[in-house]
């Protein structure tokens, strides 16, 4: 136990240390690289908190996909001059006081949370058999709080629309700029050829086992997304035109299927977003399959950014 405690303390110090380094780093690129490493460390913290589903999500999305997004942004923004004046000592002092205050109030609030803690774990488990699932986290996402998840998928596709909406008018309908350089590294091309099919299998498998074990639509979709981005980085394929009908259908498939089956709830099971008794699991997996597709399409589109006319040059 002492060993675990020491490990937890060391991990905590490491996470806070890397976070501080990220924030203090002078160059943006360095800060971003620090942030990616920090995302992986956080995934370990999640494992220690008995949250394997979150750990997978954090590693794939928080560390991985966000990392690609921020690194490509920093290489494109890094050379621009900063125009805003650096903050004065008074502002820095004020910010330090406020931040320290917020952190200590928060730490105190967490430590003095009531004991024994309230929990929905037994209740979530009691309803688990009705869903046919074995993973309670997946059950919360897709069944108990399905309304949240459906709306959150709408938020995601709306974010894509938001990203596209900042495009210059003349490039509307075209493709976003390719990821990576014009002549990719031969090693990267090799990696993409080998890894992409393997990764695709792993992504689908992660969604499939997510019904009963750690994993699920988000994590599986994120891995598929990463594979698509890898293939684009190796220039084996280029970003799609945003006017493509197929692309748009793939984008909305997840939330649309979710919404329609939610609307069919009263017919199937007597209430919106309810699943038919004894037949819940196939319906859930059907919805999740479309969600995997939509997540795999959405995440790379968010990284690619708006169409900018560089494609085909």
């Amino acid at each position: 136990m002492i060993l675990f405690e020491a490990l937890d303390l060391g991990l905590a110090a490491l996470v806070l240390g890397v976070a501080t380094w990220t924030i203090a780093a002078r160059r943006v690129f360095g800060a971003v690289v620090g942030y990616v490493a920090y995302g992986l460390l956080l995934a370990i913290v999640w494992v220690r908190l008995y949250a394997p589903d979150v750990a997978l999500t954090e590693a794939a999305i928080g560390g991985g996909v966000t990392g690609v997004l921020l690194i490509s942004a920093s290489t494109r923004l890094g050379r621009l001059p900063a125009v805003d004046a650096p903050p004065g000592a008074a502002l820095k002092f004020g910010a330090a006081v406020i931040s320290a205050l917020v952190a200590s109030v928060l730490a105190a609030a967490v430590i003095y949370l009531p004991d024994p803690a309230p929990s929905l774990a037994p209740e979530a488990d009691a309803h688990l058999s009705a869903t046919g699932l074995g993973n309670a986290v997946t059950a919360v996402l897709i069944a108990y709080r399905s309304f949240d998840t459906m709306l959150e998928k709408v938020v995601l596709v709306l974010a894509v629309a938001g990203v596209w909406s900042v495009a210059p008018d003349r490039f509307w309908g075209g493709a976003p700029a390719p990821l990576g350089r014009a002549v990719p590294d031969a090693a990267l091309v090799f990696l993409a050829r080998i890894l992409a099919p393997v990764g695709a299998v792993i992504g689908v498998q992660m969604f499939w086992v997510g019904a009963d074990e750690p994993g699920g639509a988000f994590q599986g979709g994120a891995i598929l997304a990463a594979m698509w981005m890898l293939v684009m980085m190796a220039r084996l394929t280029d970003p799609p035109r945003i006017s493509s009908r197929w692309l748009r259908l793939g984008l909305i498939a997840g939330p649309a299927v979710f919404l329609l089956l939610g609307l069919a709830g009263p017919v199937m099971a007597g209430s919106f977003f309810a699943f038919p008794e004894g037949f819940a699991k196939p319906v859930i997996l059907f919805i999740e399959a479309f969600m995997v597709l939509s997540i795999a399409v959405t995440l790379p589109l968010l990284v690619l950014g708006p169409p900018n006319g560089e494609a085909g040059r």
Binding site: S72, A187, L188
Partner: protein, 97 residues
């Protein structure tokens, strides 16, 4: 039998951790990027191989053991590619994308 296996795990994982440590020392202490890369990749690959080897006897059934081996192969593939790319970038003296 189980004591032998336990001992094997302890030795193999311990050796693996040692090589990881060595790789990290190389990353921090070596003078230029190429030798850092060299030290890191060599030592870490060996370290990971030893850790995976040590963990295989702990697997309850063949499937998790197989997963460990697949994991090892994937990491090898990834690190080899990245090392190659970093090396290429260093030779071109370009900032790494």
């Amino acid at each position: 039998m189980s004591i032998v296996l336990d001992l094997f795990t302890v030795v193999a994982v311990g050796a693996g951790v040692f090589f990881f440590l060595a790789g990290t020392v190389a990353l921090i202490r070596f003078p230029d990027s190429l030798s850092r890369l060299h030290g890191l990749t060599k030592a870490d690959n060996l370290g990971l191989g030893l850790v995976v080897l040590g963990l295989i006897p702990r697997a309850a059934s063949p499937l998790p053991a197989l997963k460990l081996i697949v994991l090892w192969a994937l990491v090898q593939l990834g690190s080899a590619t990245i090392a190659q790319m970093i090396g290429g970038a260093l030779r071109r003296r370009e900032p790494i994308e």
